[in-house]
Symmetry: D2
Subunit: 346 residues, 4 copies
């Protein structure tokens, strides 16, 4: 069988490099081309020496990547994907964008958070928000995928069954998320300078993070009415992983066992979402370096609040892994292909 | 001037050892005696080699500690302090208890969380909850201090001005706290085994931590009505510090500038509480190894929620440091004495 | 094709669990049985939740593991493998022992470091020291493999070409190694208690670590004369990886370019050993979670000392990965099978 | 008593800021002025928020710092201190330079490692290498102190008694040092980017670090003959501290007890150097945040090599603390003043 030819635009950043790392072990694809604006001409192993002996891939121009590939992954900063998507569509190719450009349905919302409206609304009409578990059927048919953000992934999976069931007082949802430093990317910043970050901890962009509209879009879809949330991300002094502690005040009288059963049923066909047994607590340790999302459920009965803990690896289930999961759906590959790594646990 | 003779019961644990470390640099006291059930007869420097050349103190029996000291600090597991307090009072001595035994006002609440009622209610009538900033005047006169818990300290200071002002919808307070591993103490546990804890993150005792009644007691005192909270602690893979992210939905129309001014005024005479300028975010980095509590204020205006970030060093402001602060109040020492260390920042 | 049936004895410890984790993704084998003395009857996913949805394996008795398997991996503390090896041989099965019992050729040396002589010397006559790159041909035919220790693996690969070439003054070899905490295993100890270990660093077993005779055995084999070394291991406050800084004083006049070329040639057919370009420095970051050994070469010309830096993941190339590499050799499987993971780099 | 007026030039960097932090708690001095080229006009608390409520110091011009101060600490990159020293001397002031400009006695050596010869050799004639324990008497009289480097401090203290005693084969000294990331300073670099550095480990400047000539200068002074060393520094993924593992092959037959006794006697009047009991191992944990240097001694009798482990806090004993220790000597202050902090141990 001929393997699918895939290319990665923006493969020198963390998201793109993680895609290369995972795709090199995917049995159904061949990584045929990668690009990097800054490092054109260099092998990826010069930038990330872990690739030595594993691949000879060299960064080339992004136009060539499009040309050589059947499917193009884009891992660029927000705001740069529209023209690439356009070129892909014109050449009959598919695209999975790991940035924010195709996540939001509303140009108005996009403009509010990213400073400009959609440049080409017709492209957006072709795109699907690629939440692998929740939008499976649309992803199957899509030509452009807006791959979900890392925080939204953990939160949407954690909220879905409870909100759809109608149990939640959606006026008081609090989302307290914590992310490892790879979420901040490869660029040097004060906030990722080792002596500053190590043995430190703090929130950032308190109540004003750009993932808020994406989360609200999806929670509103679940609730079938507009939902607003309070969302606060924090920076963990570790490399990888997101834990979202989700506070869902309940408006109906439902017990934890029922909730637990509903969650298990909701995800019974989704191997990457693991609803833990009651009394267990989801922990980053058991998801990092894997594509799993672990969810644990807890009831604070004295305030009648459902507390959901949702953990993922931000670079995998929160980025490159979910992108591959979406590719597997689009091309009808085995759904575990490329995603079989088990979290190390130690 | 004769120095105050102070003793520490339970000085082999983290809380007790931190007291010794700080008190050895307090100009008004002499650490005259320390005890440890397990290590009697050994020098503290055998257990913590950092004390070499700094002190010759040897662990002795706790009865001797009481006898030799004017003021006794107790740093034992909960449930062991009543008889010690009784002996201290009978011998005309004062006691600051770092455990939970004298924190709660209600024997019923205590029994609910600790499994037995107060053994000697009269002792509790003599005791004061030692929140240094909020109970300053009672502390001055007290013979028994129940030193606050680490999580409650960060939360109470973070909530106080807003709740007293009457702005908060006290039915939906969410408290999401994160603590370093020293909070778990010196005892070996699965959850503090390095390969398990490092590069991991998770909540624990979700919605059922023993500090909940202490927090509710104090928030109810502020609100002048019963307040229930949802409180979730998490374990940070670092040594020290607590960050509490406090979600206070507002029921009145008040702007962030007014709130900020109110917080600044509330703590203007409290050097250890620093209300940061608006737009700054409190960060553990700038409080660890010091007795400061840093508070930053943030408004999520689209959900009308005040978000307070409150940071302390759990071993200092959350335990040994606040105990010393209370001693300084009780004995009219300079309030900075023993507590002048500035957070290292790197 | 029927897959090779493999079993793991001692699969609840770190070495055994890592074997399970990697072998579950090996295309040529089926993990048919695992045992744990302490956890018999429990699923491995109860102990390491990362295995949920990935395997239903339950710990059974070790006798059953032997019975069900064609090849048995043993990951037990030293001193327990002889009777297991005996049973395997009697039942016509092969065994790869990750402990120390079959590493040393000399019963006298073994007794000196482990407190008892070989129990069954005939078994040892059947065994091969499984340094995958250096003993490839003997491994192919072996029935019992003594899988190398983690420190020796990094050191032997780092020393081999230089010592064989005869350049090294073998009377003054200094080996300064640093290991992550997983090397200490799953058992709780003071030295792996998070607040004690984090932000700390120190050597241990200075000049008297049990891996010394194993290293000397192999370096003597290379030098064709007895070699003694000074070996000091240190505990790094990280999870994984070993860096050995190897000081080889040179007795002949050879330049770094020649040395480099010799190293590259020595390992040109060994994909898991990467001799870095001159001017590069080997770093744990690019080997952890993979089976690679990265080696960089440096000359201190003013003391005429060759400095070799050799990095591996202690749990993979230093234990479970090399065991799989040996299995691949023994059964003529593709040599990358089960070992394709690329180090994450971030 | 009038307090000594001290100023710090370069107080925005880590070394300078640590000086401010420690000096603010020194009873005999007043920090009257600080400068920073980059941050002139800003309060130090804007840069390091831990200083809030502790000092109102604002960065001013360096000329003003010299003018206002009796003693000037300089914490600038190497190559900038000569003109400052000149101005200080001309104005009758003293200077302690934390950079490398006044450490080396030989202009030739300086040029070899720093690219230019001494600009003003007469200034160097006035300067003293400020190893507090070993050069106590010269420091007392000095006007210009070249404060030792961090690595050299740990190594010189670790080597001194053995080399002076004449036991060491000085042709084969190996120095394997490991430093926390604060040693790399405040400047953002690839090597201190959190996701790159965390859970990584590697040497750097292998065999060619600029501290080599400083170490050789001092070891030659001890040996009374030229000594060359092989020195390899490594970057530890922690904030603070240096561990030097020092390999001293012995040329004479001396037992460990004798060596230990000699070390204890050598440092019996130096409270900041703690020679640990035999069988103990020096560990960073018990020196960080303090001015102590812990030394443990070990014998590898099968290679007849003395192994010395020497630990310090690189920012304190390795920089700001030793500078204060030198000031205390110069001005006859109590030698513990400003340096009483005990290492936290957890």
């Amino acid at each position: 069988m001929n393997k699918l030819q895939v290319g990665i635009i923006g493969a020198s950043g963390y998201g793109g490099a993680e895609l290369v790392r995972l795709l090199l072990n995917h049995p159904d694809v061949e990584v045929c081309a990668i690009s990097s604006h800054q490092y054109t001409g260099q092998p990826i192993s010069a930038l990330y020496p872990g690739f030595q002996n594993c691949t000879d891939l060299v960064f080339i121009e992004q136009e060539q990547v499009i040309e050589k590939s059947d499917l193009i992954f884009v891992a660029l900063p927000s705001g740069l994907s529209e023209p690439i998507a356009k070129a892909c569509i014109e050449q009959g190719k598919k695209i999975i964008d790991l940035g924010a450009d195709f996540r939001l349905a509303s140009s108005t919302e996009y403009e509010k958070w990213y400073g400009k409206p959609f440049g080409d609304p017709q492209l957006h009409a072709l795109s699907v928000y690629g939440q692998s578990e929740l939008h499976h059927d649309q992803i199957k048919e899509a030509k452009i995928i807006g791959n979900p953000g890392c925080y939204p992934t953990s939160i949407e999976l954690g909220c879905y069954p409870a909100i759809v069931a109608g149990w939640v007082d959606t006026d008081h949802i609090i989302l307290d998320s914590k992310s490892g430093t790879t979420g901040a990317g490869k660029k040097l910043t004060e906030n990722t300078h080792f002596p500053r970050t190590n043995e430190a901890f703090a929130p950032y962009k308190v109540g004003c993070h750009r993932h808020t509209p994406e989360i609200e879009m999806m929670l509103s879809e679940m609730a079938k009415k507009p939902v607003k949330v309070t969302f606060v991300p924090h920076l963990l002094p570790i490399n990888r992983g997101i834990v979202s502690t989700i506070y869902l005040p309940l408006k109906t009288d439902v017990d934890l066992e029922t909730i637990h059963q509903t969650y298990q049923e909701a995800y019974q066909n989704d191997p990457f979402v693991r609803v833990l047994d009651l009394s267990k607590v989801a922990d980053l340790k058991f998801v990092t370096y894997s594509n799993y999302c672990d969810i644990s459920l807890h009831m604070d009965s004295h305030t009648h609040t459902l507390i959901v803990v949702s953990c993922i690896d931000n670079m995998i289930k929160g980025a490159a892994g979910q992108a591959i999961q979406n590719m597997n759906i689009m091309y009808d590959f085995e759904r575990m292909h490329g995603l079989t790594t088990i979290a190390p646990s130690f």
